[in-house]
Amino acid sequence: MKDTILKYAVFGIYIIIFPFIYIGLINKLKNIWCGRKGAPVLQPIYDFIKLLKKKEVISSKTTFVFFFAPVVSFVAVVFAALVVPGPYGISIISFDGDYIFFAYLLSLSKFVSIAGAMDTASSFEGMGAAREASFTSFVEPAYMMLLTTIVYATGFLSFQQILSVIQGSTGWSFITGAPIIVALFIMLLSEGSRVPLDDPKTHLELTMIHEVMVLDNSGPSLAIINYTSGLKMCVISSIIASVLIPQETVGYRYIILFLVIIAGCALVVGAIESVFARVKMSHVPRFVFTMVSVAIFVMAISFLKIFRGVI
């Protein structure tokens, strides 16, 4: 009982605090990289509180879809977070095929954010929605393909079981671990709308993708949207962390290692943003397709594992 409460408490704290720290870390690293001092890591929390206190301006052209879209998107991502193994190494909700449920929750979040953007009758937001729709639509099939090949190799159907097998120290998990992480990282960058797919700091509407979709959101709804986007990145980083952590780690060590890896992911995102320019718009699908080639690689290695028993 005590254990369960602890589990939920750790998880709760993690999903409340860490999305802010995640974005704070990215911004801090980017600032230091270009020679500025930068805002404190906890700045996103202050921004969040400030935005929550503000009044909201809503366009007269919108309907209830615009009004509720940020909330629905937020809840969908929170439930996606519940499915993925958290800082305790255990998912709050786990059932066979939950990784499919995860993908469809992200779809729900995407649907409502596209609808919310289109609701404002603004050409900018329509443009952002169209770009978001077309660039991220390859992510879901690539993710499904990747996870399915992992299911094939491990024989399990739920996130928690799959990841606990990957954490084991077999030859297969050593060989495939790195490519899987690369693929998940691409998913992280595209779902989180970061460089090299999208630049959150761009200030020209014509070059924006995700940022331009939320031009008309202000006050509390903008706060929720910012938090949701941080949470989305955190959730995908949790998958990466669960892949990386060795099976033997338990207890508080697991939590510490987990949080360190999440922070590490944030720093890598920040570093990529500092050194890379974003790719040409038309090249984004190709970038995302890297995930497919990783999936095929994992499938090939798994064939070796299952038929030859080599690894």
């Binding site: 809503i58 309907t63 909330v71 449920f101 729900l108």
Partner: protein, 650 residues
């Protein structure tokens, strides 16, 4: 079984009364007859599926010469499809009633043919005599064709309607050929596995049914036909008539028992092509109903994937995987006949109040038709397979079926095929998401893009919209109920020893239902919180215009603009033909841009083939002189040949 007959008799009675009765009351009377019949069939099908312990109810009728003994029976598969049909008929006939009440000059034959259509569908599901089945199939085709023609408005569309009739008859003749071969081989008119050519016969029957179910190479009649029909006819086509194609495929599989493995792969391959092809063409359409037609094709593909992978799993003996796949196919068939009619009904409302189906001229309809808009939203979320709504359960079950097959049977061929199937299913899901996100937001959100005058929606259309939306929400929240509905057919088909697999499925879906309840209540609570907290803290203003303070509704993204990004990345499959005149010179004149997308099968295969046929068959035009005397001479020649043949034979 008696009740089913009673229901069908009520349909027919309603139809016949609609011819006899005076015009004022005929619609109401035949509508009431249809409703009564539907409810009787609905309750007896429900009762059969959930509570009854009888395995089969049958009535046999003796006919004289051509048919001999004709057996009408309901087993659990029939009952399941009866449930789909009768539940849909209630809303469909209501929509038809409303539609005909609005029109001044509606024909009295409208209800007659509608009732015939319904009655033929109901009886086709229950009959187990192949020739009677073909006759009912033909009644179905002809009555639906009559419905199409009654609502005929433009002469240009006439070839497409004839196209439908022709396609249905090609399908019918394929079925007839296969049925005749099988009955000759087994010397019985009850469908069962032939001794020879089992696989080929299965594929032939599959193709015959695929004409109705719009699988991909057989689909081109649909996208042209749907836009011109009123919503209740298109909903009846997409929601119910296509399901009879699925019923036929399932029935063939069950009757054949063991079929060769390659048939399973063929079904899976065709279905994958159907799914992908349907959705990418749905994505680029600008006519709402044509978009829905292509999306129906996609959904039939999804059902076909379930059936195909089920067949493969059963061949290998992986029952859990097979049950999941078949359960997914049946659940998706049921869900599709809920949300697709819903989409058609709300599209009809849009068409009625705006006078156009062209997505690019719409926009902001939500303010004029909030109920239809919300219904369209619910149906879109369902069709995208979003958890919480109908549509997720079926796709999820198909996914699990494919995954279980991968885990159980790690042979390279199976894995590659299944991984490909899963990825294509996911890709189609992703494209479906942006298709419907686009359709919903371009039609209902934003501002209107044209000078059309929009009216308010009428309260008469609320009943099917609200009820069907609620049904899709409830069946999304409680998917275990759907599992209960399909458990009886699948257990009857595959034997009681798989009961354990069903325990696992319902357990999984109960968990899913629990999560869905949590998710929906979380969304509800947070939305309420947002609503109450933001009261009095909102300032209404214009959309941010980047410094310009007089925005025009013409600057909004259009449907084509929205899809252009993505459609250019799959331009290999889409045949896009642009027509444009760009502005040039110091005083540029008019500039325009138009893009059209052509169905590849139509423009690259069917049209050239037809051209060739027309050329080849023109030889026979020499025989046709137009002179009666010559025709009599032909008859004499024929009689002479027959006599010689008989004498030579003796």
């Amino acid at each position: 079984m008696n009740k089913i007959f009673l229901g069908a008799a009520l349909f027919s009675a309603g139809g016949i009364l609609s011819i006899i009765l005076p015009k004022k009351i005929l619609k109401l009377v035949s509508f009431l007859f249809i409703i009564a019949g539907s409810f009787i069939i609905l309750f007896s099908a429900m009762n059969y599926l959930l509570f009854s312990s009888v395995t089969e109810e049958s009535i046999s009728i003796m006919f004289s010469f051509p048919f001999k003994e004709v057996l009408f029976k309901i087993d659990s598969l029939s009952a399941f499809f009866l449930l789909i049909l009768s539940c849909g008929f209630i809303f469909n006939s209501y929509s038809s009633y409303i539609n005909s009440a609005k029109k001044k000059h509606s024909s009295r034959f409208d209800f007659f043919f509608l009732s015939m259509f319904y009655a033929a569908m109901i009886l086709a599901v229950t009959v187990s005599h192949s020739i009677v089945f073909i006759s009912l199939w033909e009644i179905m085709t002809l009555s639906s064709f009559a419905l199409v023609m009654l609502n005929h408005s433009q002469i240009e569309d006439f070839p497409f309607k004839i196209n439908y009739l022709a396609a249905m008859h090609i399908g019918m003749f394929i079925l007839l050929g296969a049925f005749l071969y099988i009955s000759a081989d087994t010397s019985s008119f009850i469908l069962s596995a032939p001794h020879h050519f089992k696989g080929i016969m299965f594929i032939l029957l599959f193709c015959g049914f695929a004409f109705k179910a719009e699988f991909v190479p057989f689909h081109p009649w649909a996208p042209h036909l749907y836009p011109e029909m009123p919503a209740h006819v298109s909903a009846a086509f997409s929601g119910f008539m296509m399901k009879l194609g699925i019923y036929g495929i399932m029935r063939t599989f069950i009757s054949f028992g063991e079929i060769p493995l390659w048939c399973g792969y063929a079904v899976l391959g065709i279905s994958l092509a159907t799914t992908f092809y349907g959705i990418i063409f749905a994505f680029v359409q600008r006519d709402i109903k044509r978009l829905l037609a292509y999306s129906s094709i996609e959904n039939m593909g999804i059902i076909g994937i379930g059936i195909g992978s089920g067949i493969i799993s059963f061949h290998y003996g992986y029952t859990t995987a097979g049950i999941f796949s078949f359960a997914g196919a049946l659940i998706h068939a049921l869900n599709h006949s809920i949300f697709k009619p819903l989409l058609f009904y709300s599209a009809e409302v849009v068409e009625n109040i705006t006078g156009t189906r062209d997505v690019e001229k719409l926009g902001g309809v939500m303010k004029y038709a909030p109920v239809a808009g919300t219904a369209f939203l619910v149906a879109s979320l369902s069709i995208c397979g979003i958890p919480l709504f109908a549509g997720f359960a079926g796709e999820f079950s198909i996914y699990i079926g494919l995954l279980k097959a991968i885990v159980k049977n790690p042979s390279a061929g199976n894995v590659v095929f299944s991984v490909l199937a899963i990825s294509l299913l996911a890709l189609s899901g992703a494209i479906a998401l942006i298709t419907f996100a686009k359709a919903f937001s371009v039609i209902f959100l934003g501002e209107k893009r044209s000078q059309h005058k929009f009216e308010k929606e009428s309260a008469f259309s609320y009943f099917p919209l609200i009820t069907l939306s609620l049904i899709s929400f409830v069946s999304g929240i409680f998917p275990q109920f759907l599992v209960k509905l399909v458990s009886r057919p699948l257990l009857d088909i595959f034997g009681m020893e798989f009961y354990a697999s069903f325990g696992y499925i319902s357990q999984l879906f109960e968990k899913l239902s629990f999560v869905s309840i949590l998710l929906s209540s979380a969304i509800l609570v947070l939305c309420l919180i947002r609503y109450f907290l933001s009261k009095g803290r909102i300032r209404i203003s214009d959309t941010w215009g980047c410094g310009y303070d007089k925005p025009s509704s013409r600057i909004q993204y259009t449907g084509f603009g929205f899809s252009e990004n993505f459609s250019s990345s799959i331009s290999g499959v889409l045949q896009q033909k642009d027509k444009k005149a760009s502005a040039s010179g110091l005083f540029p004149r008019e500039a325009f841009f138009a893009a059209r997308f052509f169905d590849i099968f139509e423009s690259k295969i069917y049209y050239p083939m037809m051209k060739y046929f027309r050329h080849a068959l023109s030889v026979f035009s020499n025989i046709q002189m137009g002179n009666t005397q010559i025709y009599v001479l032909y008859g004499l020649f024929f009689a002479l040949a027959a006599v010689i043949w008989i004498i030579a034979g003796a």
